[in-house]
């Protein structure tokens, strides 16, 4: 029997729970090296030209782990959840559903000898993990519980770090604190300890300046939202400019909105103690602009832009990989919302050729514009067009 060495593509800081879970289940696991321009270039060279950026980065991840002896790749795409009428990443019409198959084809064409476990493609994720690891259901559920809790704590810390970053007195203090917090999580495997872990305490010592930050909502494609190297570290840029950022989606939210199964969905919601807006509410908010699902999180982008407006945010950033099917479709709608509500929305699309300088210029301009608007107290319409 050949010894399996596993890997999983990068996705923000989420490698921490994945790695933890793999080790708890007794797997040999390699974390891909951090994403650099080289990773992206490598992935783009072997991927189909027209595919979206996340795919290219993922292929780059795989290729960079091959020399560490990786022979098995784990990927998650949820084809059971979501549907034609509801959207959702893996189950709907979005290209994400076919990622698993296309990755296998690309790796085959390259000639890499790797096996794939595409979780979520079969009827039961738990069963797939059982086949993969040879462990019992109970142990898998216990591991999953720790992983999901960790994942949520990471998200909360990231959210908090965005808030502190915008008002920190000494540049870099928040980044350091976040790193420390992530380190603590990486070394914790006990659910009870995680439960007692207070994400606020990580940032408690940071000195903050007396200024009111701008508040910017971020909507768009999931991977671009959570993987900072794919979006040119846009949150850090915004933080330095004194703007705090709030993402409309995080991994646990994305999973909870379209859970792999009803029971798992309920369990996860209970572990992380979190409520997400019901789908019917999202549908209702988006309805004046969009009456059908356009797959992926397109409808969520529309609804959440309006939600951000109602919650008094100063502007919205829309991030998408170039050619993203759902997000490109809703882009004209976001533009219309921006006009109707007199609400700044900046849409940025990313591909493998993007450079940080161009993005920085646009972000700086965007922040200047919304700051000016705020200072002048420029009108916020309460009703569309009104």
């Amino acid at each position: 029997v050949k010894e399996r060495i596993f890997t999983m593509p990068h996705c923000g800081n989420y490698w921490i729970p994945f790695k933890g879970a793999a080790e708890q289940l007794g797997l040999q696991f390699v974390v891909p090296p951090p994403i650099t321009n080289e990773t992206i270039a490598l992935g783009s060279r072997y991927s189909p030209e027209g595919i979206c950026l996340p795919f290219k980065v993922i292929i780059g991840n795989y290729l960079q782990t091959l020399d560490q002896g990786v022979n098995t790749i784990v990927f998650y795409t949820n084809t059971q959840a979501g549907s034609k009428t509801h959207g959702g990443g893996g189950g709907g019409m979005c290209r994400f559903r076919h990622y698993g198959h296309l990755q296998q084809l690309v790796m085959k064409k390259i000639g890499a000898d790797v096996d794939f476990y595409v979780l979520g493609e079969g009827p039961s994720v738990i069963q797939q993990v059982k086949d993969m690891t040879g462990r019992g259901t109970w142990q898998i559920i216990r591991t999953l519980r720790v992983a999901i809790k960790k994942l949520r704590l990471i998200e909360i810390m990231e959210e908090l770090s965005c808030r502190y970053h915008a008002v920190e007195k000494h540049r870099g203090a928040t980044k350091k604190a976040l790193k420390k917090g992530l380190n603590v999580l990486e070394n914790t495997t006990n659910f009870g300890e995680l439960k007692r872990f207070d994400p606020e305490s990580v940032f408690a010592h940071i000195e903050t300046a007396e200024r009111e930050p701008l508040r910017i909502g971020v909507v768009g494609e999931f991977y671009l939202l959570v993987e900072p190297t794919s979006n040119c570290h846009i949150y850090e840029m915004l933080g330095e400019l004194g703007a705090e950022v709030h993402k409309h989606l995080s991994l646990s939210e994305a999973i909870l909105r379209y859970p792999p199964s009803f029971v798992l969905g309920k369990l996860m919601a209970w572990w992380v103690n979190m409520r997400i807006p019901p789908r019917s509410e999202t549908v209702k908010i988006a309805e004046p602009y969009l009456t059908c699902s356009v797959a992926g999180h397109g409808r969520e982008s529309v609804a959440d832009t309006i939600r951000f407006f109602r919650e008094g945010y100063d502007g919205v950033l829309h991030l998408l990989p170039m050619g993203c099917m759902p997000e490109v479709t809703v882009r004209p709608i976001l533009r219309k919302i921006s006009e109707d509500y007199n609400f700044p929305v900046l849409s940025l699309s990313f591909d493998e050729l993007i450079n940080e300088g161009a993005i920085r210029t646009r972000i700086e301009t965007f922040v200047d514009v919304i700051r000016l608007r705020k200072e002048r107290g420029e009108g916020r319409h309460e009703l569309p067009g009104g």
Binding site: L105, Y289, T291, C292, G323, M325, T329, P332
Partner: protein, 295 residues
């Protein structure tokens, strides 16, 4: 009522179906003209810049129809086969038109899911007529015309297979294959060079298992099984720049074609209309095919 049908996207898939349906219900149908310079310019103006050319062209055609009819027809094709689905960009057309043209545009919808046309047609027809018999007749008439069109295509396919000329298989969405202006007259160019261009939509579908979920992709993979064993001299894949579906399916199609040792070329179209580049590539491809046949 005057009903406008944009000559783009689904029209090329079912050119007779909807026209027959509305005419059988005594409605007047206004069809936009085949894509031309003016429509293409409108498409570039109204279309979202990262959409594929076909989706931009819909907005070009809709802009032409806006003041020429009372309502514009855009069916919601969720899926043309059980368990399959179409492209999400098509579903958004009515909603996005509202945002793009900045006015209320009346759209007629007909939802087609799992290849079931009738429920949607029933519902739509009721807004024109209360006469149930007439509705039934119109639906039957329309579905017949669709079957007839399919039959005609398959017949064409059999005739083409019998031809002596080198046969080139042209693969692509029907709205790319048959919009001659947008694909720079590719089919005619092949014909001029003495080739028999077999378009993939004429090939009878083969039922098969496939993980690809898009209608087009699923159907094409089946048709390839049927046609690649025949005497095919070369294959050309046409797609639009930034077509989301093709970004994935073309890899699989190419793989399939290469397995049969057939030369394969992938041409990508956008709104540029310069023909020089395409002529060079077609000439080269035709030469390659000829040389292989001689060898």
């Amino acid at each position: 009522m005057k009903i406008g049908i944009p000559r783009s996207l689904f029209y090329y898939k079912h050119p007779r179906l909807w026209v027959t349906f509305f005419e059988a219900l005594d409605q007047e149908v206004v069809l936009s003209p085949p894509t031309n310079r003016t429509l293409l310019e409108a498409a570039v103006r109204y279309g979202e810049d990262e959409s594929c050319l076909a989706v931009k062209l819909v907005f070009g055609h809709v802009s032409y129809l806006l003041d020429k009819c009372d309502a514009i027809f855009a069916p919601a094709y969720y899926g043309l086969q059980p368990g399959r689905y179409s492209c999400p960009k098509f579903l958004g057309v009515p909603d996005i038109s509202k945002s793009v043209f900045r006015k209320e545009v009346r759209f007629l919808r007909c939802e087609v899911d799992d290849g079931q046309f009738e429920p949607g047609m029933q519902q739509l027809a009721r807004s024109f007529s209360r006469d149930q018999q007439k509705i039934e007749r119109a639906i039957q008439h329309a579905l017949d015309s669709r079957a007839e069109y399919k039959h005609k295509l398959h017949q064409e396919y059999r005739q083409q297979l019998a031809s002596e000329k080198p046969k080139i298989l042209v693969i692509g969405h029907s709205y790319v294959l048959h919009d001659a202006y947008a694909n720079l007259n590719l089919l005619a160019k092949l014909k001029d060079r003495g080739m028999e261009a077999i378009t993939i939509d004429t090939v009878p579908p083969v039922p098969h298992e496939c993980f690809l979920r898009w209608d087009f992709a699923y159907e094409t993979m089946g048709q390839l099984q049927e046609v690649l064993d025949k005497d095919i001299a070369g294959a050309i894949i046409l797609s639009n720049f930034n077509c989301g579906v093709d970004a994935i399916t073309v890899s699989f199609i190419e793989y399939e074609v290469e397995q049969h040792d057939i030369p394969c070329m992938h041409l990508i179209f956008d709104e540029h209309t310069g023909e020089a580049g395409i002529i060079t590539r077609v000439d080269t491809f035709v030469d390659t095919v000829r040389m292989r046949r001689r060898a």
